[in-house]
């Protein structure tokens, strides 16, 4: 059986605006709107051609799904995505703290 190679969606890798559009299923206008609403930030806002950290793809896809499935307007999408990001950050922090807590005492 052929073995497929998986690539990391990690901040180490970058996507161009066009790549992010293609992979997320959002149009360029929709992506720019997400940037305007502060949901997504390119690596350098002042750059002529925007690039994004690869993990931003997850946020863009999540935004597309939420808009489509829950019938949300851009403000609603921005609010939900921002809160979801906060939940994810808090979950990551919780996981870190749990790792630092001593386990079962012997």
């Amino acid at each position: 059986m052929k073995i497929e190679q998986a690539t990391w969606l990690h901040e180490h890798y970058e996507f161009s605006l066009e790549e992010l559009c293609e992979l997320s299923g959002l149009t360029e206008a929709e992506l720019r709107e997400l940037v305007d609403h502060g949901v997504l930030a390119p690596i350098e806002l002042a750059a002529r051609a925007w690039t994004f950290r690869a993990d931003r793809l997850l946020v863009a896809r999540s935004a597309r799904r939420l808009r489509k499935d829950l019938d949300l307007d851009p403000h609603g999408v921005a609010l939900v995505v921002t809160l979801l990001e906060r939940v994810r950050d808090l979950e990551a922090e919780l996981r870190d703290l749990r790792a630092k807590l001593p386990g079962r005492q012997r």
């Binding site: 052929k2 497929e4 690539t7 990391w8 969606l9 990690h10 790792a99 630092k100």
Partner: protein, 316 residues
């Protein structure tokens, strides 16, 4: 073809109004949306709800669905009524191995004829998400996982059929909990030259007997005997690359973290996390007579007061 009870899935009456159905969908979508929900099985449930809503929200699809009547049980095989063949575009195919939801998503009503547009419009394939549960050892070394996916593939008439696809994916070393990988083009097939969808892998680490992962750092409880903590010691400590000797400085306290640099998980962009050994002071639960005697002697000889900082408060 197997029957599905879309009204039961949506929790609405067969006579429910379009507005009632929309309300029910919104409520269920909020509850089970995979981006929002933490409920087990939410993704499956959301798919069912989405499929039911896609059919019931469209008056023509709903009428076609209603024409099946209400006498079937979910999962029961049924024969579509004769007029379905006209609605779904001719009798050249068999309904037998079709999925009801796939059929309705394909159904575009009498106005345009079945499958209208499918010959022209480029449609990207669907993306899929799968969670890969791997061990810490697998994350450390890199691993291969077996994946199985059910994706729709289209026949000559453009009808979707569910096909099981199995393949192996290589997870490079550097994984940790919650990280995502992308397998380009391994999702659903694109139509008419549209790009194939992607498969997203969500990494979940199995809990390990000894190590707890935080990003690429690892934490390990390191129990020490009281005398080891007081006098210092050199102890054998397990790491993912085999055990190493760790020097315990004299006067080590419980809760202190001893860092073993570079002994954590490898990072995708190079370098490694660290391993932290968290000191615990372990005591024998059933000391021998001799041990008890020695501890007693120590208690009498020692002037050490571990609660000195309580001060006046404790004396009240």
């Amino acid at each position: 073809m197997k029957y599905k009870d879309y009204y039961a899935v949506m929790g609405v009456d067969r006579k429910a109004s379009a507005e009632d159905i929309k309300q029910a969908y919104r409520k269920l979508a909020r509850k089970y949306h995979p981006d929002v929900s933490k409920e087990p099985g939410a993704e499956e449930k959301f798919k069912e709800v989405g499929e039911a809503y896609e059919t019931l929200k469209d008056p023509e699809k709903r009428a076609a669905y209603d024409s099946l009547g209400s006498s079937y049980r979910p999962g029961q095989d049924f024969r579509p009524p004769p007029d379905w063949e006209k609605q779904f575009g001719g009798g050249q195919f068999s309904f037998e191995d079709l999925d009801l939801g796939d059929l309705f998503s394909h159904f575009s009503g009498g106005r345009r004829g079945a499958g209208a547009g499918r010959g022209k419009i480029r449609m990207p394939g669907e993306d899929y998400e799968v969670t890969a549960h791997i061990s810490l050892e697998d994350a450390y070394r890199g691993t291969e996982v077996d994946l199985e996916l059910e994706v729709p593939e289209y026949d000559e008439q453009g009808f979707p059929h569910r096909v099981r696809r199995a393949f192996k994916a290589r997870i490079p070393k550097g994984a940790t909990d919650g990280q995502r990988l992308r397998l380009a083009g391994k999702g659903g097939k694109g139509l008419n030259g549209g790009r194939d969808g992607d498969l997203y892998l969500n990494i979940a680490l199995h809990p390990h007997r000894l190590f707890r992962a935080s990003g690429h750092d690892l934490y390990l409880d390191l129990p020490l005997a009281p005398w080891e903590a007081v006098l210092g010691a050199s102890v054998q400590v397990p790491t993912l690359a085999g055990s190493v000797r760790l020097k315990i400085p004299p006067g080590t306290r419980a809760g202190q973290q001893l860092r073993l640099a570079g002994r954590g998980l490898p990072k995708p962009q190079g370098g490694e996390g660290d391993l932290f050994a968290i000191v615990q002071i372990a005591v024998p639960t059933a000391p021998s007579e001799r041990e008890r005697a020695l501890y007693k002697e120590l208690a009498e000889a020692s002037t050490f007061n571990p609660r000195g900082h309580f001060g006046e408060e404790a004396a009240k």
